[in-house]
Amino acid sequence: MIIRYLFGVLVIVSFSLSGCNESPAPQPQSCVAGLPAITTGANGLARVFLPDPAASAGILSLSPASLKLNDYAVSRELLRLGGRGVLEGRYVEVRDGLTCQGGFSAFEQNNNFVYSHSDRRFQEAMAYYFGDQYRAELDAVGVLQPVSPVRIVVHYSLEDNSSYIRYSDGGRMVDEVDLSDSLATRGASYADDGAVTIHELQHATTVNTYDPSRNIRRFWYDEAGALNEAVSDFMALMFVSSMLPTSFDPRTFSSWALGKFIPGVRGTRGAHRCPAYDPNFPDCSGFPGFAAETNTISYVYPDGLGWPYAAGFDGPGYARSAFLSFRGQEKPHDAAILMQGALWDVFEALRANHSPDEARMLMTKVVMKAIADLPKPGFSLSPISFQGFAAAMFEVSSALGFSADDLDRMRAAFRERGLLDAPELQPGWAGAGSVKIVDHPSILKNWLNRTGADPKVIPQGNATGLNGQVDAGEVVAMWFDLQNYSDLTAGNVYLRVKSLNPAVTFLDNAVNEGFVSENETHVVYAKVNGTEIVQKLSSPKPAFDVPLGNSYFRTNPYFGESWTTAVWVKVGAAAARQTLAFDIQVSASNAPSETVRFEVGVQ
């Protein structure tokens, strides 16, 4: 295998050398070797979409396959360029992934980066425009992070994705936004959607504002990860809102790339108060209610967490269909929808007393300062919650001297979303239910392979690994069906799991995200339903009944389809025929801490 990999590396190196121009004087439509000398000024020109082809054209139904896309681009001035004839400037530098292996591609001695849409350098110039404009505004507000330019790699790869990553390279921190070309719709690029570029750039701002070295997200499904996505969506919505024609809904995020690139899949997200399959969408007149027979779902904390946003479910019981078929309930992008909507509500509330530009600046400042003030990992490895963030925003706004009316409006907006002044669960809310075990060696090894961890840690074969029970000597994945006896739903549920049997230990942090020691690990469940939402969404009509329950397993029926909320347990031979006990200290963003005991028999 290693020979194959080495061969792969050689191929990459040779491809890299042959694909890039090595001459000192860069040529148009090739890759730039090294960094040219400064020969020109800081201003240039480009053609861009504002913020995407459909909005630029004012045509909601415009297709990425349209041959007229180039007609809808408009000219814009590029600012703060470094003067070397490439797209590097004070706030961003834009490179090409697929053609130039992350090197500069576009080179114009006179900074005239004007290209047709069919030229792959079009996306480079457009990414520079949006990146520079957005980060210049952050700087003007006094919240720019990171201070050094962010690297944007367009045409990063051929896949339907875009991402942000931060890493240390030779002692220097690199913040990199990667914008790919669509695999599903060839010729379409995520860099054609300015909202996507800003979303990813905001990740750089959020992560660096929170902590200079640690990521904000610590668990697969903690509210910190969802908050990171919510802030990115919201800041992008707010920034591009002034560019949209009045016929476009400013609360819809990335209707171009997420809405159109993958046929049959509507991946859009938004800041509305209800999902698109609620019959009252987009006005959401049923907010803040929930009802099965009217398909009323509301993005209010905590019951509104995780409901999918886009339409596409089967009727007449759309809410039932969404619950039964949607597998992403706990994922950050979906859990984020509630919070980005709340932020939009606050933005609109501030616009009552301020111009749109003023309100945007105020929101930018408050959101970033509140992120800086969020608690860091200590006793809890993930101490961030939506409610804590809303409280931090209110606190910052007060410290910055917001008017009493602005503060009242902000409080009211957060209160309506269940994020401030909300009722809390009372002591005695948590109880122990069953434990789910996965011990199938093939499934476990496959999961470890997919996470990047080493599958060699699974010792068992099929002899004991097919019974779905704990056998001595096995490594198993384990979930706890936490019961919630309260009428209220618990959000951001944090489990400190302690093994009381010395023969039963937890795998280390290569596998368990919340590993603390051999006998303690932590995990986060996004929410556990209370009894009230179970009753609200039940119906005597089978076509409408949403079969929820007030326990974790019946909050997310797909919890066991992946490893993301499992704890990985090693069961020693000495545990044979014993009953294992796990004491779990459970807390939630809206509930007091409790300890419950789960027990599991060993074969």
């Binding site: 295998m1 290693i2 990999y5 080495l6 792969g8 590396v9 990459i12 491809f15 697929l98 292996q101 992350g102 790869s157 994705n161 875009s162 991402s163 942000y164 990553i165 890493y167 240390s168 390279d169 030779g170 002692g171 690199v174 990667d178 990813e200 992560v207 902590d211 200079p212 070295s213 640690r214 990521n215 997200r217 990171n228 990115s232 992008h333 300062k369 800086a372 003030d373 608690p375 860091k376 990992p377 200590g378 006793f379 490895l381 101490p383 409280a391 606190e395 410290a399 910055l400 392979n449 997919r450 996470t451 990047g452 961890a453 080493d454 290569a510 590993f515 603390v516 020691s517 051999e518």
Partner: protein, 288 residues
Amino acid sequence: MSSNRLRAVFITTALVLAAFASMIVLSSKEQGTESLARNRPRSAATGAVSGEATGQIIRQAALHVTPATEVTGSAQERWKNFEASFGTGFEPQWRDGLLASIRAAGGKIRNPNARAARPAGPARNGFESRDSEQVLARARELLTVLEGLVGVEAELPLENPVVRGGETSAHVFFQETWRGIPIEPLGKVSIDLGSDGELRGFDSTYVRDLLIKNRVGFSIEEGRLRALSWFYRFQPEKQAVQVAGGKQIIWVSGRNGWHAYEYFVRGHHIVIDAMTGELLYGRSAGSA
């Protein structure tokens, strides 16, 4: 007596004497030391590490880091000292007997009893949260009082402070290191201050009693290929892959630490053992 018996008696006597001597040494080290109530027993220092070849993997005895910071006084006394200097109304949170977090009591963001910083000098009228020097000085003042509760050891210092000042708050981040090498992913201490220098939050993932389990066996450049091979194990379909990053760290899990190299390959965070090349951690690291 045969020579074999003589040798056995000699070895036995030597072992008994060595054990007796070590008991005296350990006993004298423990005198005058009052451990925190739930502290783990501190380890004795060991000298040079001797390697033992087992196949391709060189296994080493664990190197215990010398705990040079002596803990004196009870945790409660230290906490009272903290309250006397920085105000009452805080809630400490402990993990394994060590201070992990401090928050305002009752889940509040601000503690109204938190004491403001005193003026830093005669020329200053008061604390300025935008002034990096003042912010760092205030953070160090806090840390001096708290490090006994955190369990800071001389060989695992908190270094490389990053200061973020602002008009309404300020934040200071410290990095735990071992011989200058950063501890990851734990080993962080952060202090949040209000605009008057009052404490708003303290959080620690400090690791003490660290056991270093290996040594460096190859260069960071050699590690790139190994990181790439790990990446291809779980992403074999990817092409034109580049290895970014490259940082030497001590990777910690529990109280065990490994010399390690950290890389990023196509959005994946990969940490490999710097002696064996084995994968210590691999995960998708990007925000999509």
